[in-house]
């Protein structure tokens, strides 16, 4: 089995080498001692070492969530009309959800090679279960009286779907989206294992070289990214479903 521990090959333009020497600048003492977290080294190297990985990480996550949402939505809509479809698709999605991530990546490499595409296949697979379940639950929770009203008022099926069912299913869909996004951000760090970039790269690198600041900083960035994405989705949900927060006083 090919050992793919990263580090190398990183096209980082940064001139300062990490161990040995631990880079330079005013943070030399801290870096030389390999302190728990060298703040000034992080600040000095953020633009060159971390920012590009952060952007990659966001791309990995966004693509995975986007593609996952499209597939899960299509499957949920189909299962909503044709009940039999729920169980087979749930089993399919649950299977991928339970496969250990590293094993899954390694397995996929043999099929699709070492690249971002492989990573995306794996990441998308992990989003499906949550997104499918929540979307379907949301569609099923639409009040039947709203559906009767829509039908009696002469809305066609597609008009009912777009104007009544999907908007009313939005809160559970958004809840699923939040879980899936946070999970994917965390999981995407493992994608560096197959050379897909992202914040996983400095994490693996830091672990390999033993330079604490590097993997702690990258890990912290992943956490901050997850929290920020979650907050953003909460704000989006509030804006998209103003009716859910307004009740008679």
């Amino acid at each position: 089995m090919s050992v793919l521990l990263p580090s190398g090959g990183s096209p980082s333009p940064s001139p300062s080498p990490v161990i040995p020497g631990f880079g330079g600048g005013g943070s030399q003492t801290c870096v030389a001692k390999n302190g728990q977290f060298c703040g000034s080294w992080f600040v000095d190297n953020f633009g060159s070492r971390f920012a590009p990985r952060l952007v990659e990480h966001i791309e990995l996550t966004a693509i995975a969530i986007g593609v996952g949402m499209v597939i899960a939505m299509a499957a949920a809509l189909y299962a909503h009309r044709h009940g039999w479809f729920e169980t087979p698709f749930s089993l399919f999605a649950a299977f991928f959800y339970t496969v250990p991530a590293l094993a899954f990546f390694e397995l996929m490499v043999q099929v699709t090679g070492i690249n971002r595409f492989t990573a995306e296949i794996a990441l998308v697979s992990y989003t499906l279960l949550i997104l499918f379940r929540n979307t379907l639950a949301g569609l099923r929770a639409v009040p039947p009286d709203a559906l009767e009203a829509a039908q009696a008022m002469g809305l066609t099926r597609s008009q009912t779907l777009l104007r009544v069912e999907l908007p009313l299913a939005l809160p559970p869909i958004m809840a699923g989206l939040r879980i899936a996004t946070v999970t994917t951000i965390s999981l995407a760090t493992v994608a560096a294992y197959i050379g897909a970039g992202g914040l996983g790269e400095p994490i693996f690198d830091g672990i390999q070289t033993g330079f604490k600041t590097e993997f702690i900083a990258a890990g912290a960035l992943a956490i901050v990214l997850a929290l920020a994405a979650d907050a953003l989705l909460v704000v989006a949900q509030r804006l998209l479903t103003p009716w859910a927060h307004r009740r008679r006083a």
Partner: protein, 366 residues
């Protein structure tokens, strides 16, 4: 005679919950309210595997602008009959025509956009503002935003919820009774000639229900629509209906004015259904306005305004121990009196003819 008009007008004043002055009503009244006659022609609904038809050979007509109440015990087919009009339930046999045109001649969605529909669960869209709820069908028909807003404002005024704020509120911010008013407004959005109402006030507390009924009758006087109204409550049927159709096991048993129905039930089932107190119920069909008053004798008696129902007048006599009641006009001055014998005489076995509530007599007073 203007009994019907007077009756509802007084009912409206009596409840006084929200009061729409004459001027306001002028401002919001429709220029030419449209209404269309509807006819059931041997309509049947049979479900496969069931021996008995849910609706069997149902034939009746509702003239333009009338409220026809369908009533009967659970499972009698009244709701099925209603839902066959806008084809929520497809009929097995027969035909239903609106203004002479078969409902089957138009595409279902198109048909439904032209028929107001109000039902017990209300079914407002919780994610849409009141304005968007009312604007649902107008939007489907391609109305402009401005026209929709204007119409929504006008309708809210009409159902007694007129306020700029309400347009932007969500259904969840209103009480059940208010939501049903919005439901009625939504059903009237494109001024449909026909409205279907399936136990519209069934889930609303009795006091609010009474007010909604009064207000709806007032509204109907303003904006004449042909209405098919399903209920299982005989009191509501008597109050709301120009005519009442009693159904049993999918068949029409009797179709008559409330008064005739109470005076001469067609059979034991109807008599049972309208209740042993049908005589007293009948007294509620009239107000003091509707009967010939005796001249006022000038004596001191309990007084009641002319809009009082005979039932309430009788009740007043019984509680006051009087045998006569002085009837007062709008300015509170006595205009005549009514005696216990007079009221009792109103309850003879024979119907008192069609004059009291026949539709052509219902034109609003000048």
């Amino acid at each position: 005679m203007t009994s019907y008009t007077e009756r509802t007008l007084n009912a409206g004043q009596r409840t006084g919950g929200y009061v729409v002055s004459g001027e306001e009503m002028q401002a919001v009244a429709r220029p030419a309210a449209s209404a269309a006659p509807i006819a059931f022609l041997d309509v049947s609904k049979r479900y496969p595997g069931r021996a008995q038809a849910a609706v069997a050979d149902l034939s009746f007509e509702v003239p333009s602008g009338e409220i026809c109440v369908l009533i009967g015990p659970s499972g009698c087919g009244k709701t099925t009959a209603l839902k066959m009009v806008n084809r929520l339930i497809p009929m097995t046999d027969g035909d239903i025509t609106i203004d002479g045109k078969s409902v089957n001649a138009i595409e279902a969605a198109q048909l439904r956009r032209g028929i107001g529909y109000v039902f017990q669960q209300i079914g407002l869209f919780p994610h849409m503002t009141v304005e968007d709820n009312i604007g649902t069908v107008p939007k489907l028909l391609g109305w402009s935003k401005g026209r929709i807003r204007e119409r929504a404002r006008e309708l809210l005024e009409l159902v007694g919820l007129g306020s700029e704020d309400n347009l932007r509120r969500y259904p969840g911010e209103f009480s059940g009774g208010q939501q049903q008013r919005i439901g009625v407004a939504r059903a009237m959005a494109v001024d449909p000639p026909l409205m279907l109402m399936d136990e519209p006030f069934g889930a609303i507390d009795p006091i609010t229900r009474d007010r909604l009924q009064d207000d709806f009758l007032r509204l109907h006087r303003e904006v004449r629509k042909t209405i098919i109204f399903v209920t299982h409550d005989i009191d509501e049927a008597i109050k709301m209906g120009d005519r009442i159709a009693i159904m049993r096991d999918g068949h029409l048993v009797q179709l008559d004015t409330p008064d005739n129905l109470l005076a001469a039930p067609a059979d034991e089932f109807v008599a049972d259904f309208v209740g042993a107190d049908r005589g007293l119920k009948r007294l509620r069909v009239w107000t003091l306005n509707d009967i010939e008053l005796d001249p006022w004798s000038g004596t001191k008696e309990p007084a009641a305004p002319a809009g009082t129902t005979l039932r309430d007048a009788l009740s007043l006599m019984l509680t006051e121990g009087a045998s006569r009641v002085t009837v007062t006009g709008q300015d509170g001055a006595a205009i005549g009196c009514v005696s216990l014998e007079k009221i009792a005489a109103m309850l003879g076995p024979e119907p008192r003819g069609p004059e009291a509530r026949a539709p052509e007599q219902q034109a609003p007073a000048p």
